[in-house]
Symmetry: C2
Subunit: 517 residues, 2 copies
């Protein structure tokens, strides 16, 4: 991963000419390059005696204090994170990167952190976009990033039950490759797929692009193991139980604040033998919402349902390579089917009937193929825009179907007001019987203080979303960025519950301090 | 509800001749009548000054201390509960039954309980089978049953989102009737349907007979409100969120120990316009498990999937009215479809193909119709058996598909060993992609000490189930009866988490003391 951009350094590059032309026309461009890596100013490394203590647990070669490694474990990949790094500010760098080999070593590192009062940031793919990888430093003897990359085993496959136990440090492509050897697949494909890890998916309640078919990650998890300052937590009995509140759901979304998730038992599926992407044009976003609601409720939805609003459709954002090209208007809807040939046919028939009834016009296979090709490329486009003076960021929410239009309107209005002139694009990509997510992309000029500009807009739009009945976040977690609003989401009693569990499991507060609660 | 039997007193009666003949042949019968209601020995009523304090909150007419009312709020409907009542032991009677009108009155009653140190048992339908309605008394100024019957409103219907807000005291038939006025239905039909309440379903993680189609109750809940000693808890934003751990799942299954759930937002569906029950014979329970697993995984399962093992099939327990009649062997599988005509046809076609492939033989509509007619009647049969010297009880678990045969064998062996001579019957009635529930019914002679006999068998079979990889309970909750095994299910760290939330929300421990944690 590039130190101050998304993804593979070899794949980063300038904006395509058509996109640059478009941005020039709407927002204007100017060169705003990042500083060189050598100019980054890092927090100091961990004191040697603490490094030696961690080395006693994981081995000296697995405690890294070099700047290059620490810089690549500094913050996540939100636009504010990137803006800070581009300006050379790496003040949140961990003092060391510690790389345990297995659950027991994770537990031992946690125990050392408690004993030495060292703050611990669990680090998977480093793809947080909500400030989930920045720890409080005050009062701690140091901060380490606990890199889980070596927990990369497929521990167990149970084909009869359709489950597998995966270690937390497995990146999604690695997990899929290991499962594919058994003819199985997880089907979890968020935009961060190429870098994000199994443990991160669990700790943040991730949701993938095929969530209509495979569910959210928190729905896939049947069991989990975590290392906490109170010891090992194992939850793994049955697909469903009434043995008290569902403690798995207490760890999912806990963002490393309650413990370090080291493995999960997840639902897996036979590798799809058939995949089919189709595209439709709906006359308007409102008509599109009606259509996807009916499809979601039919019980026969495709694996992928992705509806762009008019602006996103006009800008071709569903295919980052085509931004700036001509569009035919209306709203683009992508339907992606995966599974057996028979299962696919049943769903396709039912979905097609509902879409035709809703006035959808078939667009052929082109847009679906383009989307599948570019489905992980959005963040590269963001970097290219950050290079030319454009502030670009995403945010997301979810709401009941009845509240969705108001949430959409409120968020658009707020973003439009605070980032003017700017472009606000949105799509729905996660649907439920009772509601759906809304994912916004916004672009505006960076101005003199892009970070301040964004923070002001983010504060206003978050207030607006909550006021209109949306949730604080549908699949990006709380981190530090959403924390000021958590009490509004769950109320003072809910917050007290979270704090009580935090105090019980992590009484000295060394686990990801400052994140979540 | 009858004071010492299940259900409507007018519907209780003696065992049908065919069933009596069968029981006589296997176990022998003798008269073991219950004592008369007047002979029941109740704990004393609540002191007058405390009654006056509660009357100040809910009105004097809503604080009941008469024996008849208190007796009908004593314990639940497990066989041990009934055996105690039949012998006249009503020592667990609440000192008063307090009937609040709404959430605010519930909160005020909770506050009085904290101030006066009175134990509070939330009481819905009184159908607990795990000792969930028996509070510790030591050290408390008294015990009240908080009867939620007056919280019986349909608060909100959101047809566009397919949700409704229901108050906790609504019995299932009342809830269905109110929803039916809007053309909607919940689809939650446990055997306790005729008496159990919405709040009880949420507090115990109930699962209904059509769970394959409508899901478990904990899956239906999108939002909830609870009254806790720390104040009101409101969780109701979106169908799905990543704003921290899912706090709704902390209250679901909390059995009144964290707070009193006063309303829930649930998923609702259009009233089914088509219902079709079919029956199949599978050659063996093992073949049946293979078949229902494939159906469950197809994504096109019927709403009801119920597979009886060989013994249950031979005894016709799926239709309590036919127990003792001739059976044709094999294993009975019921498939019940509900929904639109088109949706039903799609699922029926897919399911039928899978069942035929698995060697299932169609049995026509008779058995399905009989099952639907008698689906809530099992508990009446139990009372008739208790009258003639037979000890009869049920228990249930769930496990991954790969562990299910071992769990089934272990439970049968343990029950057979401890209740010899006896009959052990089982069925699967809740299926998941990754596993299923197992529901056992056991009958044996009562002997001299039926309660002691059952407790010994229950202890042994619970140990056996957990040892084989089953969960402590799939849909009956923990109560007092399962509490000794909870640490084995969730581990010491899991138990510490539950205790931390209990201590935070209910620091003086007045909420259902002795239940869950």
């Amino acid at each position: 991963m590039h130190w101050s951009r998304w993804g593979d350094p070899d794949r980063s590059g300038p904006l395509a000419p058509a996109a640059r032309e478009l941005v020039d026309a709407f927002l204007g461009t100017r060169d705003t390059p990042a500083l060189a890596e050598a100019e980054a100013r890092l927090a100091p490394p961990l004191p040697a005696h603490l490094c030696a203590t961690f080395a006693g647990v994981v081995g000296a070669e697995q405690v890294r204090v070099d700047d290059a490694t620490r810089l690549r474990h500094t913050r996540g990949k939100s636009t504010p994170d990137l803006l800070l790094l581009r300006s050379g500010d790496a003040g949140d760098a961990p003092g060391a990167v510690v790389r345990p080999a297995d659950h027991d070593q994770v537990q031992a590192v946690v125990d050392v952190c408690v004993r030495e009062h060292v703050a611990l940031v669990p680090f998977g793919g480093g793809t947080s976009v909500v400030g989930g990888l920045v720890a409080d430093r005050d009062g701690f003897a140091g901060v380490i990033a606990l890199d889980l990359a070596r927990l990369d085993r497929l521990v167990e496959v149970d084909p009869l039950s359709g489950t597998a136990v995966l270690e937390a440090g497995l990146r999604a492509p690695e997990a899929e490759a290991l499962l594919a050897e058994h003819g199985l697949s997880l089907g979890h494909h968020p935009q961060s797929f190429e870098y994000a890890t199994i443990g991160g998916f669990a700790a943040t309640r991730s949701s993938g692009q095929a969530s209509a078919g495979y569910g959210r990650f928190d729905e896939m998890v049947l069991g989990l193991t975590a290392a906490t300052p109170r010891g090992r937590l194992d939850l793994d009995t049955a697909p469903a139980t009434a043995a008290g509140p569902d403690l798995r759901q207490w760890l999912l979304g806990s963002e490393g604040a309650f413990g370090v998730i080291t493995s999960v038992r997840v639902t897996v599926h036979p590798l799809p033998v058939a995949v089919l992407d189709e595209a439709w044009r709906l006359p308007s976003f409102a008509a599109g919402l009606d259509a996807v609601r009916e499809v979601a409720r039919s019980g026969l939805a495709p694996a992928v349902l992705r509806l762009s609003d008019e602006t996103e459709t006009a800008l071709n954002l569903a295919d980052p390579a085509s931004v700036g090209a001509q569009s035919d208007g209306g709203c683009l809807l992508l339907t992606g089917y995966e599974g057996t040939a028979d299962g696919l046919a049943v769903r396709r028939e039912a979905t097609t009937a509902l879409l035709r009834e809703a006035g959808a016009e078939a667009l052929g296979p082109g847009p679906g193929a383009a989307w599948r090709r570019g489905r992980y490329d959005g963040p590269y486009l963001r970097d290219s825009l950050l290079d030319v003076g454009v502030l670009v960021e995403t945010l997301e929410t979810a709401a009941l179907w009845s509240r969705l239009p108001a949430v959409y309107a409120a968020a658009r209005a707020s973003l439009g007001e605070h980032l003017d002139p700017g472009l606000v694009l949105a799509h729905v990509s996660h649907v439920y019987d009772n509601g759906a997510s809304l994912y916004f992309t916004v672009a505006a000029g960076q101005g003199e203080d892009p970070l301040g500009r964004w923070r002001q807009a983010k504060t206003a739009v978050t207030d607006a979303i909550l006021e209109a009945g949306g949730t604080l976040t549908h699949h990006h977690a709380v981190g530090r960025d959403h924390k000021p609003w958590l009490e509004r989401e769950v109320g003072p009693v809910g917050l007290a519950m979270l704090r009580a569990v935090k105090a019980e499991l992590d009484p000295t507060g060394v686990l990801n301090p400052g994140v979540l609660v």
